[in-house]
Amino acid sequence: MNEDEIFHLFSLAVASISLLLLALIFVVLVQYTFPVINKMGINYFISTSWNPVFGKEEYGILPYFLGTVLTSFIAILVGVPVSFGIALFLTEYSNKTLKNYLGTMISLLAAIPSVIYGLWGFFIFRNFILEYIERPLYHYFGGLSIFSTTPTGLDFLNGGLILAIMIIPIVSSITTEVLEQVPTEIKEGIYAIGGSRYDVVVHGSIRYSKNGIIGAILLGLGRAIGETMAVSMVIGNATGENALPKSLFSAGQTLSSLIANEFNEANPTSLHPNALIGAGLVLLIMAVIVNLSARMIVSKYKR
């Protein structure tokens, strides 16, 4: 064996390990989830009860699944337009210097540890949204079911908005990258037929980068689904029936925050650990599906 072959084998082995790890984690999660599904049956996925007390054990993860969906939805709804605005500003309007500075600042947002977002969300942002968003909405529109709970500031809305901020770096940077690849010929072509900057963005850039933009949004969604720390600090941590999303202002739980909050107290002889691992499995499947489709779309686009 010569050096080249050895190196080839070595890199192959290292590369295989990551694939193996993913498979292994998946297998172990399935294995540990099995007992709780065995006991609860389909109710594990559609029930709202959650009772880890020994002898009265019941586990249903529907509220947390819905919590993950709702907070991620809020994150996309708020975070994507902002990211989009940032990307458009950077690619279409700002000059090179500003673009460099601003681009770096925004990617620095991604460097902030999520526990800090959580702290900020709990001590500062909470009071802000309570005072200026939730109480007014509840006062004037409390009749609408999405605003119908007495606000506390620790709820789905807070969780979703924190997530929105946290997905901005990835969504805006990928969207920027995608918009930068729009051929100058297309932009100039639209200018040359009397199009305005707006026309260029709408009929040229966005049309050309449609797929890439969808990919960027999905990657943001993947981040929102998996994010744990910050969300678990601001979402109110209800369990069981109470965690069902009744309104934007109700306290809840996501799959990941549930796991983070309860793993430490789970009695190893009960099914509680299995129920939490099952939540992890569902989370993993969601994240893998979203990330895979995002990457497929983005890579197809890059080719």
Binding site: E185, G189, Y191, I193, G194, D199
Partner: protein, 250 residues
């Protein structure tokens, strides 16, 4: 011959680098004027100054006047200027995810120039003028990108003609094409001169000689010589022009 465009004391800078120096040029109406010169001499930059495409580049600075029918385009609305002065680029790029029909109709739609019923007529007329109608009349709903490169270039000419401009600027419109497509486009350009004032930038001297009525020779950002094409090629007045057209500089 009547002057359609008069360029007066035009200077262009990119950041601090000056690219065009004191250009003065009278471009005659309903004729083909070719701008030739070695690469990097500022031909394209000059062309783009005419329809104010430099407005879009923050580093670019333009000084001087470009008079269209005696009116300075730099004192007009840039969007209106670009409707009146159409441009065809070197590399034909159809607009993304638009059909052949939409590619031609888009300019008219963006500028609200015609009602829907009229749009079909405009598209047909433009494609006919661009000598593309017979090849695409049955596939108008196919994506513009499905055409061959030569057809795509005629498509971009059609989309420019749809706006009924007065002037056509062409920036090396055949340099990305095969010889057969090039010949088609050249014939097309010659046919169009009855209705339009055409300015074509080309690095292909033979092309300038074949199709243009007037030729301007540019070197280092300056117009060295401007004359009737046959005269310029037969009796160049400047030494450097002669060197260029005899291939001693490139």
């Amino acid at each position: 011959m009547k002057t359609k465009i008069e360029i007066r004391n035009l200077n262009v800078w990119f950041s601090k680098r000056q690219v065009i120096y004191d250009v003065n040029l009278k471009i005659p109406e309903q004729a083909i004027t070719a701008v030739i010169g070695p690469s990097g001499c500022g031909k394209s930059t000059l062309l783009r100054a005419i329809n104010r495409l430099h407005d879009l580049i923050p580093e670019a600075k333009v000084k001087g006047e470009v008079l269209l029918d005696g009116k300075d385009v730099y004192k007009d609305d840039p969007l209106a200027v670009r409707r009146k002065i159409g441009m065809v680029f070197q590399k034909p790029v159809p607009f993304p995810s638009m059909s052949i029909f939409e590619n031609v109709a888009i300019g008219v739609k963006l500028n609200d120039l015609a009602k829907k019923e009229k749009l079909e007529k405009i598209v047909e007329r433009s494609l006919r003028m661009a000598a593309l109608w017979d090849e695409v009349k049955d596939i108008l709903d196919s994506p513009g990108t499905s055409l061959s490169v030569g057809q795509q270039q005629r498509l971009t000419i059609a989309r420019t003609l749809a706006l009924e401009p007065e002037v056509l600027l062409m920036d090396e419109p055949t340099s990305a094409l095969d010889p057969v497509s090039m010949k088609k486009i050249e014939e097309l350009i010659v046919n169009l001169k009855n209705d339009y004032t055409i300015v074509i930038v080309t690095h292909d001297m033979r092309q300038a000689a074949r199709i243009s009525d007037f030729t301007a020779f540019m070197y280092d950002g300056k117009i060295i010589e401007f004359n009737e094409t046959s005269e310029l090629f037969r009796n160049p007045k400047e030494e450097i022009t002669e060197k260029y057209i005899t291939g001693r500089i490139s």
